[in-house]
């Protein structure tokens, strides 16, 4: 009797997907070809998960939006991916290699409200911070570094503000300075936390132009994004979160009414979904 194979087990063994889960992560098909891959990421405060068991794969040279309701763990997800807050489980890979070894290739733009803007520093000093890695501890700031700082400020339309104290900037200007600092890192992967939150229309335009320029250069952009109305205009890829992953994939096939309903639950009226420019 013991030689008889249980039909269910047989089925499982022949199922490719089930077998995949036993393989080494290095043989994970999605890993090598992706700009960013997250596997089994869980973050919890106490025993309450803020982000639960998320697998996500961001294709190279894509613009990916992370959307979800308030408290869905979007920012937490991004910070945990970067290792800024501790993960309970899971790992992140950049270009198929562990993220921890790839920090040089990543530029992060935190939420504007996360820092004290009365900090004694000028706009140009903040952007220079993006070059600290290359400068090392004692390297002198040379004309080439200064030029780079100004170039990055130019790209976000803030070159005239280089010598201002950062506290004198408007919210949109602060956001642009943060973006300029990320640009100064010359990274391949840009992770932005709510870059369009509370900024003026001119800033929104300036930021999206820069981001689209990055994509055109073959770089990858990932944004935590709150404005559902602009998802289809700005992004080509979407990751929908609500503690767990609800869906991920191309905006055209993933960012749909039923998926939005599932992500936002009752918090998003059907009328709102109808107003979004869904294909």
């Amino acid at each position: 009797m013991t030689t008889t194979t249980h039909p269910a087990l047989e089925l499982a063994a022949s199922d490719g997907r089930t077998a995949d889960s036993d393989k080494d992560v290095d043989r994970d098909a999605g890993l090598a070809g992706s700009a960013l891959a997250v596997r089994g990421l869980t973050v919890s405060y106490g025993t309450k998960p803020a982000v639960f068991s998320i697998d996500a794969t961001v294709p190279k040279a894509s613009m990916t939006a992370i959307v979800g309701p308030n408290g869905a763990g979007k920012s937490t997800f991004l910070k945990a991916v970067l290792g800024i807050i501790p993960r309970l489980s899971g790992a992140a890979y950049v270009d198929g290699k562990p993220l921890e070894t790839m920090r040089r290739a990543i530029a992060y733009v935190p939420q504007r409200a996360s820092v004290d803007w009365d900090f004694p520093t000028r706009v140009r000093d903040v952007v220079t911070m993006g070059q600290f890695r290359g400068l090392g501890l004692l390297g002198f700031i040379r004309p080439a570094h200064r030029k780079k700082t100004l170039d990055c400020l130019e790209r976000v339309g803030m070159a005239d503000f280089a010598d201002r104290q950062i506290g004198q900037l408007s919210g949109g200007q602060q956001q642009r300075v943060f973006l300029a600092r990320a640009l100064a890192q010359d990274a391949g992967l840009y992770l932005l936390d709510e870059p369009f939150a509370g900024v003026d229309a001119a800033t929104e335009k300036a930021i999206i132009d820069v981001l689209k320029g990055l994509k055109a250069e073959g770089k990858t952009v990932v944004c935590v994004h709150h404005d559902l109305a602009t998802v289809t205009d700005y992004f080509d890829h979407v990751l929908m979160l609500n503690i767990r992953k609800i869906a991920e994939g191309p905006v055209s096939t993933t960012f749909t009414g039923p998926m939005l309903q599932e992500t936002y639950g009752g918090r998003l009226a059907t009328a709102h979904i109808d107003q979004l420019k869904l294909d």
């Binding site: 970067l82 004694p120 600290f132 400068l135």
Partner: protein, 408 residues
């Protein structure tokens, strides 16, 4: 008294006084540097916990050295002991903050008082333990300069130089961590290690300054210089230099002042000199000072009232608000009986014209920055170029009998 002061300033007041002067200056520089990043990281109170946590270490070291049959007053031994418990206090604060939901200030409060309490108990024990020999230990509370040895000055010089060197080497990651720890972490800066290095430097300065300034007052040498410096600059690199300079100067001047009369305590006087610098900075700094802020507010208030008054004149309304009347009279825009003067009528017309110009400017000039700086009171000539104003006037199609002062 003045000659004593000058002697002390020029290091002519004797060997001991010169040692104290050099030591206090070096300590002030090191303290100013070390405190700078504490201040920027908004963790100034940690230094208070570190300082108070040195006391049990000093006492333990004394007891241990006496127990081993040595001289309990060996400074290197005492300072080593103080460093051990200071480090322990630091780690305890860090541990409580990370492992519980208590905020850092609560952890500091608990650690500070417990360690200090333990130290005071040990101090009492020592007094009953061995008579006479404990004589120096109370000096660690408020500092003592009497009988300062060359060795003491060397300890301060070495500790101060080492801590300042560490700060210079780590200034970039420390600035990054202080400004934006999340970003720092994302770029791979070991935030926790940098924080520990910052605390380590603070601990080093505290320990070497213990004998001179005392553990209760050393905090002022760490914190006040950077707080004073903040009034004078908007750049963190200059903050470091200014804090080091004022800290050093306070140490130097404080020693000289304390030399003017016998038995003046050096440590507390250094604190008072630091406080004097702070007061001057707070009151007189042109950018962030209290006086400048007051004058700016007054000027702004006057501008608002004049703008309001001139608008009323242009509309032919009566000015009712007494303050507006006063301002308008003072500017010579109206007479005692509230009737507009010629100057007042001209200014009123200009106000109306400028309002119209601004309204038009918003339509034809697409420059967000210009309007961000527009507060309704700055003369239009100060914001826009003469050509821009000419374009606006052309677009307004207004007659221009009241050409702007910039043109005439």
């Amino acid at each position: 008294m003045l000659s004593a002061f000058l002697d002390a300033l020029t290091l002519q007041a004797g060997y001991n006084a010169a040692l104290v002067s050099v030591g206090a200056t070096l300590l002030g520089i090191a303290g100013g540097c070390a405190g700078c990043f504490l201040f920027l990281r908004k963790r100034t109170l940690v230094s208070d916990a570190v300082a108070h946590a040195t006391l049990p270490g000093v006492c333990f070291a004394f007891i241990l050295m006496v127990f081993l049959g040595g001289d309990g007053r060996n400074l290197v031994g005492l300072l080593t002991g103080s460093a051990v418990t200071a480090g322990l206090g630091l780690l305890t604060v860090d541990w409580i903050t990370r492992k519980t939901r208590l905020s850092e200030d609560a952890a500091i409060g608990a650690v500070l008082s417990v360690f200090f309490g333990l130290g005071v108990v040990l101090l009492t024990v020592i007094q009953t333990l061995s008579h006479g020999k404990q004589a120096g230990l109370e000096g660690f509370l408020l500092g003592s300069t009497a009988g300062m040895l060359f060795q003491d000055a060397v300890i301060i010089a070495v500790g101060g130089a080492l801590s300042t060197a560490i700060i210079l080497v780590l200034r970039r990651p420390m600035t990054l961590v202080a400004f934006d720890p999340e970003y720092a972490g994302a770029t791979g800066v070991p935030v926790r290690l940098i924080d520990l290095a910052m605390m380590g430097v603070v601990m080093m300065v505290t320990v070497v300054g213990l004998k001179l300034v005392g553990l209760i007052l050393i905090v002022s040498s760490l914190i006040i210089p950077s707080v004073s410096a903040r009034f004078w600059t908007d750049r963190s690199d200059r903050l470091l230099v200014i804090a080091a300079f004022t800290g050093g100067l306070a140490g130097y001047l404080g020693t000289a002042v304390s030399a003017t009369a016998p038995n003046l305590p050096t440590g507390p006087i250094i604190v008072l000199v630091n406080f004097a610098f702070f007061s001057i900075s707070m009151l007189l700094s042109p950018k962030r000072g209290v006086l400048a802020a007051f004058l700016r507010h007054r000027k702004f208030q006057a501008d608002v009232h004049l703008h309001q008054g001139l608008t009323s004149l242009a509309r032919g309304e009566t000015i009712r608000e007494p303050l507006t009347q006063k301002m308008m009279r003072r500017a010579g825009y109206i007479r005692e009986d509230l009737v507009a003067t010629g100057k007042g009528r001209a200014a009123a017309a200009k106000t109306v014209l400028d309002e119209a110009r601004w309204a038009k400017a918003r339509q034809i000039i697409q420059d967000e920055a210009i309007f961000a700086s527009y507060d309704g009171l700055t003369p239009i000539e100060a914001v826009l170029t003469r050509d821009q104003i000419r374009d606006i006037d052309a677009a307004l199609g207004a007659p221009s009998p009241l050409s702007s002062p910039a043109e005439g």
